[in-house]
């Protein structure tokens, strides 16, 4: 009697459908055979089957395209390090495998790259480029640097400051005189450091959020770079171009100015073919013009912020003293 119930249950079980439970996979059938397989193969990417190795210039071009348009961070970083080693290993006076005119437009967007290793590698590569060529492309380089300085991510802001330092070392005259170079860069400095540009009421002191948290460590550095920038733009450089009077060429005066110019795009300041530039986008070639714009728009907030920073003392205080010295030197002989 006890066993017949068991036997009936077993017979009934054959015809019952197993209940499906939520979250659990369906029960395997009795005659289930596993048909999966693991293919044991080596997959090789596209290969070029020539006997000669590709020439170094074509390899250079290949790694350049990898660096500028690869999806993976490590690949970009490795491509940049290959380019850096190529440039640093060739003799100094050799021409570049590819001219700077082609290298810079492809690599400048990497200033805004998300990964830190790519940015540091990019800066090492940029320092190997010849200074004269970089000066020709100052406007383009500044565009990306400014975008980096006002980026949302703090690390990109810090690295963009390093790029601006390099630009000031290499081509400071071009940086402050290119169209939009003076006013727009100063505006991005103001927004980066939180010093209000608009002359609002001084009741609301703009919170010194710059000295809190992680970004607080970069505030003195920002002020130092700002002082370097202002020095390049406002302080007279010692090496003024001396006019060599060629007395032997009596009927001719200023012959050098009538020869074919040696600067790239020597008539850019005429702006013959571009749309009209407003005050922000204008080229300020003279030191007096730069002083005038600085005094009109930026001097007040810069001085206020500098005073606040000096009161805070410490690193920020020391940087503020350097900034003050540059301001005094630069605007001393300006009488607006």
């Amino acid at each position: 009697m006890g066993s017949s119930a068991r036997k009936k249950k077993e017979k009934r079980k054959d015809f019952k459908k197993p209940k499906l439970k939520v979250g659990k996979t369906k029960a395997k059938a009795d005659n289930f055979t596993d048909t999966s397989f693991k293919a044991k193969s080596i997959v090789v990417n596209q290969q070029s089957l020539t006997t000669a190795a590709p020439s170094s210039s074509s390899q250079f071009a290949h790694y350049l395209s990898l660096a500028s348009s690869s999806k993976s961070d490590t690949q970009r970083r490795d491509a940049l390090s290959y380019l850096t080693t190529q440039l640093s290993s060739q003799p100094v006076n050799d021409p570049l495998p590819l001219p700077t005119a082609i290298l810079l437009p492809k690599l400048l967007p990497l200033i805004l790259d998300g990964s830190a290793s790519v940015r540091t590698q990019l800066l090492k590569f940029l320092r190997l480029l010849p200074p004269a060529d970089v000066g020709d492309r100052a406007e383009q380089a500044l565009l990306y640097t400014r975008a980096g300085m006002t980026h949302l991510a703090a690390e990109i802001r810090v690295d963009a400051l390093a790029v601006l330092e390099w630009l000031l070392e290499v081509a400071k005259e071009d940086i402050v005189t290119c169209p939009g170079g003076w006013v727009k860069t100063l505006k991005s400095f103001m927004s980066m450091m939180g010093w209000a540009v608009t002359s609002g009421s001084s009741k609301w002191t703009s919170a010194s959020k710059a000295s809190f948290g992680k970004a607080g460590k970069s505030f003195p550095r920002q002020m130092l770079v700002l002082s370097q920038f202002l020095k390049a733009g406002l302080v007279e450089s010692e090496a003024e171009a001396s006019v060599t009077a060629n007395a032997g060429l009596y009927p001719l005066v200023d012959v050098e100015r009538h020869m074919i110019p040696t600067r790239s795009n020597a008539f850019a300041h005429l702006n013959l073919f571009g749309s009209s530039r407003d005050e922000e986008g204008e080229m300020y070639i003279d030191r007096e013009d730069r002083q005038m714009v600085f005094q009109k728009r930026f001097q007040a907030p810069v001085e206020v912020g500098m005073e606040n920073a000096r009161k805070e003392a410490g690193e920020a205080g020391r940087a503020a003293v350097v900034l003050k010295k540059v301001l005094v030197d630069g605007m001393a002989d300006y009488n607006g």
Partner: protein, 445 residues
């Protein structure tokens, strides 16, 4: 906004099956500012080197291996006419805006006046095809594959009176191989230079008014095309290996223009600076053009690439376009086109017979003088304005004397007397009231 433009033409046989580029298009119009775009194009044209010219209203393209010139109208954007000539054509040039010069395969030069249809042809002064032509308003220089360059006088060719066969004014035979390109200087004096390049790897600069050879430059490669600086300070030559070279005429340290230094005229100068190279292999530089201010150089190559070079830095700047077929002609358009008083709206096909010629054109501006414009465009002050101003200083001065009584003065004097009378009456009245007031006041108190 001002803009610079380019006109480029290709020679057919596209290099690769590139579907991005239309197969039929032969002539492209590019616009360079604010950024490079291809503005419009014309179909069905295949031109050899030096065979494209453009006026403000029309584009003329001599077809390769055919004795035909295609004429395209720039305003209407289509092919306007197809003119055939008795021989195959190798080169084209324009004299001013209204005369088309054609160089044929047999060494003859045909001149065709666009607005009247008059056609003049010279005898076979050259022994082989005329490969390049350059012209100013008064002179025509033709270079040919037989290494000779002839100078012709345009007014003499077109004179209605002469019946004898035309002869060139002078010729230069210093080249040893085919002449590939000619360029004339921009001055309007009698010392204007002509620069010629030839396949014997030399560039010769000479004065075509007097026929003097000024300088010979020896080059490392074969120059195929020339572009002269807007101020005639240097010439840029494009080589067969795709590189460019700058040949400077002026030296900053000397008062004398080295071209006219008699001591150096007989010795050829070897150019030692390295040519400018492009990073990719673009093929032979078939045509070259300078921008309006001389800071940009554009070159068209045999692989179809158009490259832009920076003359200030003496280096390659960027690759502008790829047209997929050899770019044989490149014309740079000035952003300040000259406004002429008449323009040909349709060309008049050439008639061979002599007879009455009818000038057909469209008037585009009024002839009436605007005195302000005339004053601005004058050098210094115009004499009429000066005379007018001086005469005003010396005019009769009206002396203020009351004895001279003109009718106006009389009226004024009368009015004056009446007013004085009124004033005196008022004063008397005021005195009376004041007396009354003081009397009352003193009386009152």
């Amino acid at each position: 906004m001002l803009s610079e433009g380019l006109i480029t033409s290709i020679r057919a046989h596209p290099k690769s099956a590139n579907t991005a580029i239309a197969k039929d298009v032969g002539i492209y119009l590019h616009e360079l500012h604010p950024s490079h775009i291809i503005k419009s194009s014309f179909k069905k044209s295949s031109t050899p080197v030096n065979a494209l010219v453009a006026t403000s209203t029309h584009i003329f393209a001599a077809q390769a291996d055919k004795a035909v010139v295609h004429i395209y109208s720039r305003e209407r954007g289509n092919q306007e006419a197809l003119v055939s000539f008795p021989e195959r054509l190798h080169s084209l040039a324009l004299v001013g805006d209204g005369i088309l010069v054609l160089g044929t395969a047999e060494g003859r030069v045909i001149l065709w006046e666009i607005c009247t249809g008059r056609q003049i042809s010279t005898p076979n002064a050259h022994l082989q095809a005329v490969s390049c032509i350059a012209a100013t308003q008064s002179h025509l220089t033709t270079g040919s594959e037989d290494s000779n360059i002839h100078v012709w006088s345009v007014p003499r060719l077109f004179s209605l009176a002469s019946n004898e066969t035309q002869q060139p004014l002078r010729s230069l035979s210093n080249h040893r191989a085919a002449v590939t390109s000619l360029a004339l200087g921009h001055s309007s004096s009698t010392t204007n230079i002509c620069v010629s390049a030839s396949r014997d790897n030399t560039v010769i600069v000479w004065n075509y008014h007097s026929g003097d050879l000024l300088r010979t430059f020896l080059l490392p490669a074969t120059p195929l095309c020339l572009a002269l600086d807007p101020c005639d300070r240097a010439v840029y030559a494009g080589f067969e290996d795709g590189s460019l070279q700058l040949i400077e005429f002026l030296q900053p340290k000397s008062t004398l223009n080295p071209l006219y230094d008699a001591n150096l005229q007989t010795t050829p100068v070897q150019i030692t600076e390295t040519p400018w190279t492009a990073p990719s292999e673009p093929g032979a530089a078939l045509c070259i053009g300078l921008s309006y201010d001389g800071t940009c150089l554009f070159s068209g190559h045999a692989t179809g690439k158009i490259a832009q070079w920076d003359t200030g830095r003496r280096a390659f700047s960027l690759e502008l376009a790829d047209l997929n077929a050899p770019v044989t002609n490149l014309l740079t358009l000035s952003p300040f086109p000259k406004q002429k008083l008449t323009r040909p709206s349709t060309v008049v096909k050439p008639k061979l017979g002599e007879g009455q010629y009818v000038f057909t054109a469209q008037l585009s501006k009024s002839i009436t003088d605007n005195s302000f414009e005339a004053a601005i465009n004058h050098q210094g002050l115009p004499t009429e304005m000066l005379e007018d101003a001086i005469s005003r200083f010396y005019g009769p001065i009206a002396a203020p004397s009351y004895s001279t009584s003109s009718s106006g003065d009389e009226k004024l004097r009368q009015e004056n007397e009446e007013l004085w009378k009124v004033v005196n009456e008022q004063r008397a009245l005021q005195k009376q009231t004041f007396e009354k007031y003081t009397k009352l006041k003193s009386g009152g108190t």
